[in-house]
């Protein structure tokens, strides 16, 4: 799932993902035929979406555990995420403990065209559904 609190939705985004997400699994969930045009497009989307992502859970446990009392405080003070988001993360984590939050900085820049495509109204909804399906798999 993709969440953003910035003025521009495509910048400074947080994504709920499983650590072991692979391109193959993503394509399988997209229901595209291998080597088709759609598969290539979805591959570009996957690469753009996952490019320059940092796993905040890992960063916290490795580098920021002394600076902030807990992960939620880290999220709140370093990324200013609102309490409602933290609550929803807590709720998701109860059911799916292996879900991690990834962050794409507003300064991370990549394939602009694909980025625009991802964050178009209709496409975003579809990608959200695919990511949701992957998260709730098994």
């Amino acid at each position: 799932m993709i969440v953003s609190f910035g003025e521009d939705f495509s910048k400074d985004i947080f994504i709920f993902l499983k650590e072991d997400l692979t391109l193959e699994r993503f394509l399988a969930k997209c229901h595209v035929r291998p080597n088709s045009f759609a598969a290539k497009e979805m591959e570009r989307i996957f690469c753009c979406l996952t490019s320059e992502l940092t796993c905040l859970n890992n960063y916290y446990t490795k580098f920021y555990y002394l600076d902030y009392d807990d992960f939620l405080e880290f999220m709140k003070k370093k990324y200013f995420v609102p309490d409602s988001f933290l609550q929803s993360y807590k709720d998701i984590q109860k059911d799916l403990p292996d879900i991690k939050i990834y962050h794409k900085s507003q300064y991370s820049q990549g394939d602009y065209v694909v980025e625009q495509f991802i964050f178009s109204e209709t496409m975003l909804e579809k990608i959200q559904n695919v990511l949701k399906e992957i998260i709730y798999e098994n």
């Binding site: 609190f5 910035g6 003025e7 400074d12 490019s51 320059e52 992502l53 940092t54 960063y59 490795k62 580098f63 002394l66 600076d67 902030y68 709140k76 003070k77 370093k78 200013f80 995420v81 609102p82 300064y107 991370s108 820049q109 990549g110 394939d111």
Partner: protein
């Protein structure tokens, strides 16, 4: 004596035996002594670290008390804090920096930088960098430092410098990333960090936050000193020694600090070196320290200074080896904040100053985009529940701030009064030479400089002409708006205390169109005089040529209870001729809907204006401001028109929410009457009328009066629409019993339908209803006779038509 005799000599044997025993004991006790010494030094080290930490804590508490440090308010909107983290704990963050570097994606870069950032060379760099990381954790401390230095040098040589040397225009995205990689690696190896920023940017707040949230949790040994604490002709080492002299000898201080910083660097932090009164001595002290520190590689230095002061007094520091070769410079410590960061900051202020409030987005933006305003607001409303903040009344805010933060402390009050007096007397309104106050009997210069460095209202600065080497210190108000308020308050206070000449002279000499004080002073003189409620001063100022302009400009940011009917007249007049102002007033009044909260200057003022305005104005200037906003279009608060659909929803909600409550919002519903004609333009069907009728059912007396007023109004379209609603309401039980002004209905009927013969037209339903109503009420009038007759005629014709139709239908049925 030969050897044999010697060894047989008993003295010799005894001495040898004693020596052997001593040697044996030495052999046993040496390691024990070493262990004891080790534990002793360990204990000393721990004691030392604890002592220094508690000293730092004391200083942080001091900054908390004078509100220079507000916990949790440093917002990490840039990489500044991370850079400081890398600087303080390079071993701990080395892996992070490498992971960040490996995470950067350079696959999409402009062709012009492909020579440097092609996949082959990047792959090579990455392999090399990974190799640094793989061995890093197995290395001893000294080798780790070496490895980090090599990593930084490698990146600089193979990535940063080649990229910088590109002649053609660099690729924007890649440049950001390359700079980030280089700055991060530079932070790791630097020994000195200089924070340069202007007054009020948050240097102390940042340093205190860094110590509390990073240095303490990481247990870095550190020393935190304020520039003002360093006395004249005193070395920093003396200052350190003073606080730990019972633990360590003077000569051992630096070696011991260096020893302490072996695992984690020892950090010396000197805040605000500009706050000292002896800049020349301070320069020498810091320079000496920088030279000495070259010999102690485990000690790092962070110091902060105001930009102007640094450029004026401390540029010589740049010549030292450490500053030249191993330093990082931080200049932008208050970057632009996103909305969520501002929300976080505002919540932190609310928690710290313990105040509660709610506000509109535009007010929130205004207050959180200006740190000084936010700070003044927070300090003024400390421990209060403000409720809804509908506007930032700056005059009122400054008054509250003055009353709560300046007035109670006589030294501060005297300082502000003296500065105002000096400015008015000498006609110098900024950059007053601080030495001018040296001979003032009411002020101690040291108090003045201390206050200037620790308050929100005035600031000390350094001034130097470009061509001149001599510098002098000046005193100014932090912002002109606060200065103008305080000067106005001072002048009016003096007037009330009997010195009327001072104000009169000031008005005649200083307040003119060309004066830079004109705008601010007229604003605050208007506010302060209104707040004083003193008739003579209001009379004096209202005779000034700028008064009307002040009313027009500042009435919207003045509490409505301070305004009077004369002010409303001025506002109404301006609304009529100034379209932008008209829109601005609507923008403000449309939110002043609660007549209990805004008893005087509320939406009713707008209604009164609209009643007396002609049709043309309503049609061309008022109604076009209300439009239907499609759901798919994103809204901007700065839009020049209001979404009527949102308004209707809000009105509906208001009617449903407050059916039995007092009539606080009736003036707001009255506004609906002026929006009746909007229906035809934007196909909102009869929505505004429906909402109003619903309202009228709950408040029939008020609705009747509002409609009658509208029917008597100047605008034809509003009159017509109001009559229609009136007629509809007549048929409801609650409303009909209230209507007694039948003459009004008659007049309006004749006015709208002057020719009774035309009542047959399709649009005469309304007239038919009025006539029927007047007939029922047995209202007799000569003028109405033709109308009654036409009505009867029309009815008869209609009946005949119906009979004819029915007859035809019957005939058709019988045929069947």
């Amino acid at each position: 004596m030969n050897f044999n005799e010697l060894i047989q000599n008993e003295y010799f044997l005894a001495i040898t035996f004693i020596l052997a025993i001593a040697g044996f004991l030495e052999l046993i006790f040496k390691p024990i002594r070493k262990i004891v010494l080790f534990y002793k030094s360990l204990k000393t080290k721990r004691l030392l670290i604890d002592r220094l930490h508690s000293l730092a804590n004391e200083r942080i508490d001091r900054h908390k008390n004078n509100s220079k440090y507000i916990p949790d308010t440093f917002t990490e909107c840039s990489s500044l804090k991370d850079q400081a983290r890398y600087f303080i704990n390079p071993f701990f963050y080395f892996e992070k920096i490498i992971l960040d570097y490996l995470n950067y994606d350079f696959s999409i870069v402009a062709p012009e930088v492909q020579s440097i950032l092609n996949s082959k060379s990047l792959q090579k760099h990455r392999k090399k960098v990974l190799r640094y990381l793989n061995v890093f954790y197995k290395l001893p401390t000294w080798a780790k430092k070496n490895k980090i230095t090599k990593y930084a040098q490698y990146l600089e040589k193979h990535l940063y410098l080649p990229y910088q040397s590109l002649q053609q225009e660099k690729h924007f995205q890649a440049t950001n990333k390359i700079n980030a990689i280089f700055n991060d690696s530079k932070s790791l190896i630097s020994r000195c960090m200089l924070i340069k920023a202007d007054a009020g940017q948050g240097k102390t707040n940042f340093l205190c936050d860094l110590i509390s949230t990073h240095i303490f949790p990481h247990k870095n040994p550190c020393l935190f000193i304020d520039g003002v604490d360093i006395r004249k002709s005193e070395e920093i080492l003396d200052l350190i020694y003073d606080s730990i002299q019972d633990l360590v000898k003077k000569d051992d201080v630096l070696p011991l600090l260096n020893q302490l910083g072996k695992q984690k660097p020892f950090i010396i932090i000197i805040d605000s070196i500009n706050e000292t009164s002896f800049p020349i001595e301070m320069l020498r002290t810091i320079k000496n320290l920088l030279i000495i520190l070259e010999r102690y590689p485990n000690i790092k230095l962070i110091f902060s200074c105001r930009t102007k002061y640094f450029e004026c007094h401390y540029t010589d520091l740049k010549s030292t080896h450490l500053m030249k070769n191993s330093s990082i410079l931080i200049q932008d410590i208050a970057p632009k904040m996103s909305k969520i960061a501002r929300k976080y900051l505002f919540d932190a202020y609310k928690t710290h100053f313990n105040f509660k409030c709610a506000m509109r987005t535009s007010i929130f933006d205004e207050i959180t985009k200006d740190f000084l305003l936010l700070r003044i607001f927070s300090e003024s409303y400390k421990n209060e529940n403000i409720g809804l903040v509908d506007n930032i009344y700056t005059g009122e805010l400054y008054k509250k701030f003055y009353d709560s933060n300046i007035f109670p402390i006589s030294t501060h009050r005297n300082i502000i009064n003296e500065i105002c007096r000096y400015m008015i007397k000498n006609k110098i309104y900024s950059k007053v030479n601080i030495d001018s106050f040296a001979k003032q009997p009411n002020i101690i210069l040291q108090d003045l400089t201390n206050y200037a460095d620790n308050n929100l209202v005035i600031r000390r600065d350094i001034e130097q002409k470009k061509t001149d080497t001599i510098s002098w210190e000046s005193l100014s108000f932090t912002v002109d708006d606060i200065r103008d308020y305080l000067l106005s308050a001072y002048l009016i206070n003096e007037y009330l205390n009997g010195d009327s000449e001072l104000l009169s002279n000031f008005l005649s000499n200083e307040i003119n169109e060309d004066s830079p004080l004109h705008e601010g002073m007229t604003k605050h003189l208007f506010f302060v005089s209104k707040a004083s409620k003193n008739v003579s001063i209001i009379n004096l100022l209202s005779s000034q040529p700028w008064w009307n302009n002040s009313v027009i400009k500042h009435a919207l940011s003045t509490r409505d209870i301070l305004l009077n009917s004369d002010d409303i007249k001025i506002i109404h007049k301006e609304m009529q001729y100034n379209d932008r102002y008209f829109k601005k007033v609507i923008d403000s009044l449309i939110f002043r809907i609660d007549t209990q909260q805004f008893p005087f200057f509320n939406v009713g003022v707008l209604n009164n204006f609209l009643i007396n305005i002609d049709e043309d104005f309503i049609d061309k200037k008022f109604l076009p401001l209300f439009r239907v906003w499609p759901d798919s279009v994103r809204r901007h608060s700065s839009s020049s028109w209001f979404p009527i659909n949102d308004f209707c929803d809000f009105f509906t909600q208001m009617v449903n929410d407050t059916p039995g409550k007092p009539n606080n919002f009736c003036e707001f519903h009255n506004l609906l009457v002026f929006l009746f004609p909007v229906n035809y333009r934007y196909n909102l069907y009869e929505k505004t009328k429906e909402i109003y009728i619903n309202f009228a059912k709950h408040h029939p007396f008020i609705a009747k009066q509002q409609l009658i007023n509208a029917i008597k109004g100047k605008s034809r379209s509003i009159r017509n629409e109001s009559i229609k609603v009136f007629i509809v309401l007549l048929n409801t039980e609650v409303f009909s019993s209230l209507v007694d002004d039948l003459q009004l209905l008659e007049d309006k009927l004749i006015e709208i339908f002057p020719d009774p013969a035309k009542l047959r037209s399709d649009h005469s339903k309304m007239a038919t209803e009025i006539i029927a109503y007047l007939e029922n009420q047995k209202h007799k009038s000569e003028k109405l006779k033709p109308y009654y007759e036409t009505q009867i005629k029309v009815k008869k014709e209609q009946e005949a038509n119906w009979l004819k139709i029915i007859g035809e239908i019957d005939g058709n049925e019988s045929d069947l």
